[in-house]
Amino acid sequence: MTDTTTTADTRAVSDVPLVRALNVSKAFYGNEVLKGIDLDVREGEVVCLLGPSGSGKTTFLRCINQLETIDGGRIWIDGDLMGYDDRNGQLHRLHDKRIAAQRRDIGMVFQRFNLFPHMTALQNVMEGPVQVKGQGKGESRAAALELLERVGLQEHCAHFPAQLSGGQQQRVAIARALAMKPKLMLFDEPTSALDPELVGEVLAVMRELAQDGMTMIVVTHEMSFARQVADRVVFMDAGVVVESGPPAEVINRPQHERTRAFLSRLHAEEEHRREAIEDPLHGNDH
């Protein structure tokens, strides 16, 4: 971990960041969801996006992958302007095929997994390399089996998604995204749809990925993950970045009132849940 961080740090001095978002704005039917987001992510960096629901963090993540089109600002990935061709200051919208090509280098993991239900785990992982990159089936199969082993699911390669638990499905989804050998991985609340006892296995895979030096942007409510794995935490609220910095600072010593309010609410909820589990008959009269 320390190795990758230092290389990322030295690179940041001279290199362009892998992801650069400048003044990104987005509205749905007149409702402004993003109001000028700036974010730089260097290669090998793990950034966690925190914030209350409705703060725009998922929308921002989807904008990076062009699942949403932005109304204002610019997003560059590895120096490539996303979605547009800049011809002497005049932007020209890219053709769908070129947008599809820009997405190839970005892996995305969804809250609801979105595995292809008519394909086995192995076929899901092979689909991208075979259909998008035109790789041979034998080569892709070997690579896919390796990835499934990496997420601990090699024995489940012939199972259909419906035959897997939520945690297993999400790990297959991570393997599917990794099969495209992405430069950047986006995680959209990857553990929010999981039963509590299945959260750990997914977070373990993500932690390992971070240790291998993958650049990651993670939308999450898992504070312990953010604290332990993230290089930087970005707190968003109402479509703006409220504060950002190392997790120890933002989570333990938040500078802004809104961050403090969010964290204490989250903390109170966790406490409440723990109390509820420890004392299931709380409030009942015997």
Binding site: A100, R104, F110, N114, F116, P117, M119, E127, A162, Q163
Partner: protein, 320 residues
Amino acid sequence: MTAGTSVDQEARPGKIEARPVRHPWRYVGVVIIALLVAMIISSLVTNERWDLPFALRVMNYKPIIQGLIQGTIIGTVGAMIIGIVGGILLAMMRLSENPVLRGVAFLYTWFFRAIPRLVLLAMLGTGVGYLYPKLDFGLPFSQQITSAFGMSNDLTFYQLDVNSISNGIIIGILGLGLSEAAYMAEIARAGIQSVDRGQSEAAQALGMSNGKAMRRVILPQAMRVIVPPTGNETIAMVKDTSLLSIVPVTAELWYQITVVGSRTLKIMPTYVAGFAWYLVVCTILMIGQYFLERRFGRGFGTTAPGRTRMLGLGSREGGA
């Protein structure tokens, strides 16, 4: 939690051997149905005007079997191929971002759903050869242009003699297929829209183009919804091939049945023979539909559907 725990071992209740709920009216129903069936069978055997042996002979009569294969079966297969391919294309056009394609698909569906098949087939059968005896393949308005400028070559690349095919099954298949495509378009659209949005997003996130996402991810899942009503449409199409006689198509089951009936004057037994063939073909199709549904249901529900489902009995097993 207080009373039940202290009951001693011998008093603990064992296996349940209860009497089931009685349904006496079911037995009454079975008796009534059995009586009705017995009456029908007895009338078929004793009333010699039914003449079932003759009907069986008509079923095996060569022109009837020829009509069955060349008109009913080939007609159904041809029309459904045009209908399914056309319908899926129309559905994709209807759901595309291109307003021109959307408009064309809408107009097509509107037009062909409004025309009764019998009327469409009659108009195609008499009209095409009458209005357009020759079909020229060339530049648009080439004849008008060449006559206006007095050129000798009329810029036609290929000429088709329409009258040579207009009485044939081809016109009939075309008519039924074009009409079917309009209905299939609606079925395919419902199927495509039934697939979760997250699926196309996952395909896009992998870098797939829209076309590839449609072929590899959306359509295979849409098929699960498309297949059952398509089976329905195919069975309806088997019966609609009897409309082909208006084109006219002579090598067709119902046309041949009416010919045999009026020639032998045993009209009712002949009709029974025709009806029996439709029953056989539709039964085979229903069996085929069952296996198709099982194929496209892969990945939804973990167990294979049981045999009872084919007969429509028992409860369906839960989906994903």
